[in-house]
């Protein structure tokens, strides 16, 4: 058969058609004044159809008390409309042969159609509709889909996919695959077969129940067909629990059914289908009970819940593990911080001339300072800054401060001490890391101070009434080039009220206001002059507080040391 590109190009001969006699009965029944004799004459033109009609009429489905022997008798008892419906049902049943669409199991299609028909019949009383009429409409409502596959048999591979969708999703998928829907096709057929307008309208609009062209009666039939479609989907759709919820909503809204009535209705479907199938001569497999469907849906729901719970549980576990690791790391860092602090010198007596302060930007610092008193009363001091930050800087800081503390006890010349430390560091240098350091010896009795500066920012000498004097670095940092000299800076003589300030670059590169420029060397000099009246410890704390107040986090570690000159009373 040629395949029409669009429905407009379809000829009546392309469509499946009932036998001529059946069509004539359908047409005759659509007129108000047809006589039972005339109908009988029509039916007898097709003895096979007549025999089948009489067989169906005498099945328990029609519940007649005595056997009907002739068509005129059947018309008298059942009425014109029921006969028409019966002919229609048999016509669609036979319109498309069992093997007409390779790859599509028409038996399964008819099982679904029968479930819609039985559902529609059961819903009829809720909207005051004729059950027999609803049954026929239900049997026909998706016949258009079978016709689409009949016209395009190569699409049969999509049948299972379409069947697993809910009615609305299936309608969209039909549009996508066929560029037409089953409602369009059934409208064409209704015209070709001269079906009564009431039926044709309901079949054409059962996905569009609020259409303005529908009268109230047609709209009620549309709602029934729409609900019946969803009731069938409860048994077929892949996502049964969602479809069941939606079906219950629709039945409550359109049929005003209570939950118990809905369950009872769905429960009785399987049994009703058996009766109707026997009556119509349709072969169907044993149908699943609604309770079985419910169990499957509940198991799926439980599985979904379980996997959600598992996911939540795993997430909670992972978060706990993360917190535990973070706490462990925090504890390790805290311990490392304590070890670092232990490397800083203990505060000696109040009148000790050297005060230092170290504030780290992170938990661990790359800065350090140290001082200790030699046997002759002179004080060895240093202030240093390791390049970079974090754990690796802290490790190099520990190594360098140990070298200073250990070697400094034996090498009492700062320039030679720095050369020794430098050679040691160069032996194990990695990643270009280096250390800037000022090391010196101060004699508090005489005020004489010797120091060498390996790449550290200059020391600042403050003398009352004089400009602050910067004593620049005398060599490059430690750890870069082995066997290089670290010359002493010019001797310093600290007089009464003089102060020598040493600091790491965190002080000159700090910010006193967020977004402002770095403090710089000149800024630090001015700050020192403004604070000179304060006690040494207060001076250092005030400087650090000014940086801390400017931003939530420090950009760099800040270390400052202050060496006081001879005191008047000393």
């Amino acid at each position: 058969m040629s395949q029409p590109a669009t429905l407009d190009q379809l000829k009546p001969s392309d469509l499946p058609s009932p036998p001529q006699a059946a069509l004539q009965i359908l047409r005759a029944c659509s007129q108000d004044d047809v006589s039972s004799t005339a109908l009988s004459v029509l039916a007898e033109k097709d003895p096979v159809l007549t025999a089948e009609l009489l067989r169906v009429v005498n099945t328990p489905f029609f519940g007649l008390s005595r056997k009907v022997q002739s068509l005129s008798h059947a018309v008298t008892i059942l009425g014109q409309r029921t006969l028409r419906n019966l002919v229609l049902c048999l016509s669609v049943r036979d319109a498309i042969g069992k093997d007409a669409i390779p790859g599509l199991d028409t038996q399964i299609y008819w099982e679904d159609s029968l479930r819609r028909a039985v559902s529609a019949k059961l819903l009829a009383p809720y909207l005051k509709q004729d059950p027999d009429n609803c049954f026929t409409a239900g049997l026909l409502q998706d016949f258009g889909l079978l016709v689409l596959f009949y016209l395009r048999p190569e699409m049969a591979l999509y049948w299972d996919e379409l069947r697993g969708l809910d009615p609305e999703a299936r309608l969209s998928a039909e549009q996508q695959y066929f560029a037409h829907s089953h409602t369009e096709v059934i409208t064409l057929l209704a015209n070709a077969w001269d079906l009564p307008e009431e039926l044709g309208q309901a079949l054409g609009h059962h996905h569009d129940c609020d259409n303005a062209d529908l009268d109230q009666n047609q709209q009620s039939l549309c709602h029934i067909l729409h609900c019946a479609d969803w009731m069938n989907a409860v048994f077929n759709a892949t996502d049964k629990s969602t479809v069941l919820n939606r079906t219950q909503q629709l039945l409550q809204t359109h049929c005003a059914m209570e939950e118990d009535a809905i369950s009872a209705c769905l429960n009785t479907l399987s049994e009703e289908m058996d009766v109707a199938a026997r009556s119509l001569g349709l072969n169907i497999e044993s149908q699943p009970e609604f309770e079985q469907i419910m169990r499957e849906a509940n198991v799926k729901l439980a599985e979904a819940n379980l996997s959600y719970q598992e996911l939540t549980w795993k997430l909670e576990q992972t978060l706990k593990e993360r917190d535990a690791l973070a706490a462990e790391l925090e504890a390790e860092l805290q311990l490392a911080r304590e070890i670092q602090e232990s490397l800083l010198p203990k505060e000696l007596s109040d009148d000790f001339p050297i005060t230092g302060l170290n504030v780290s930007a992170r938990q661990l610092s790359g800065d350090f300072y140290d001082y200790f008193v030699l046997k002759d009363g002179r004080i060895y001091f240093n202030l240093a800054d390791v390049s970079g930050k974090g754990v690796y800087a802290a490790l190099l800081m520990a190594k360098t401060s140990s070298l200073f503390h250990c070697l400094g006890k034996h090498i009492h010349q700062p320039d030679k001490l720095l050369a020794h430390i430098n050679n040691e560091l160069c032996e194990t240098a990695i990643r270009g890391m280096f250390v800037t350091m000022i090391a010196g010896i101060y004699d508090p009795k005489t005020g004489a101070l010797k120091m060498a500066n390996a790449g550290n920012p200059p020391a600042l000498l403050f003398s009352p009434g004089k400009e602050v004097q910067a004593i620049e670095a005398t060599a490059s940092p430690l750890g870069i080039m082995p066997k290089v000299p670290f010359p002493l800076a010019p001797d310093v003589q600290l007089g009464e009220n003089d102060c020598l300030y040493l600091f790491s670059d965190g002080a000159t590169e700090g910010y006193l206001q967020e977004g402002a420029e770095m403090l710089g060397l000149e800024g630090l000099q001015q700050l020192i002059m403004s604070l000179h009246e304060l006690a040494p410890k207060e001076q250092l704390q005030t400087i650090v507080e000014k940086f801390s107040a400017a931003s939530a986090t420090l950009h760099d570690d800040i270390t400052i040391m202050l060496i006081e000159g001879k005191r008047p009373h000393a």
Binding site: D385, V386, S387, G388, K389, A429, R431, G432, M433, F434, T436, A454, G455, N456, P457, P458, E472, A473, T474, A475, S476, P477, I480, M481, D505, E509, D556
Partner: protein, 108 residues
């Protein structure tokens, strides 16, 4: 930080710009070491560097040390005022070979 490279006069020129700080210095380090590892003589152009911290300087130091031990040429070029202040303050200007432009690379 931005980083571009080009070849000129037998040198690979690695041009850094912007802020070379703790966040970006690993990238600068990786690029400098990659070219030195491939036996290239390297000039690091610091003309557009607005700030360099000690981790950035450490990347330069590592390049300098690597070049020394592998007999390669390594120098800083066209150093910006901001970067030069840091180098001078720490006396590193006495450690690194520093040239004004590629034209001066012959003296290395």
């Amino acid at each position: 930080m931005e980083c571009t490279t080009r070849s000129e006069n037998g040198f690979t020129i690695v041009a850094l710009s912007g802020e070379v700080d703790l966040h970006y210095s690993p990238k600068a380090r990786e690029i400098i070491l990659k070219y030195l590892g491939d036996k290239n003589h390297v000039l690091v152009d610091l003309a557009d560097v607005s700030y360099i911290d000690s981790s950035g300087v450490a990347s330069l130091v590592e390049g300098f040390q690597h070049a020394r031990t592998h007999d390669l040429k390594f120098a800083l070029m066209g150093v910006s005022e901001a970067a030069m202040q840091i180098l001078q303050l720490s006396r590193l200007d006495k450690v690194f070979p520093i040239i004004a432009s590629v034209a001066d690379a012959d003296q290395l």
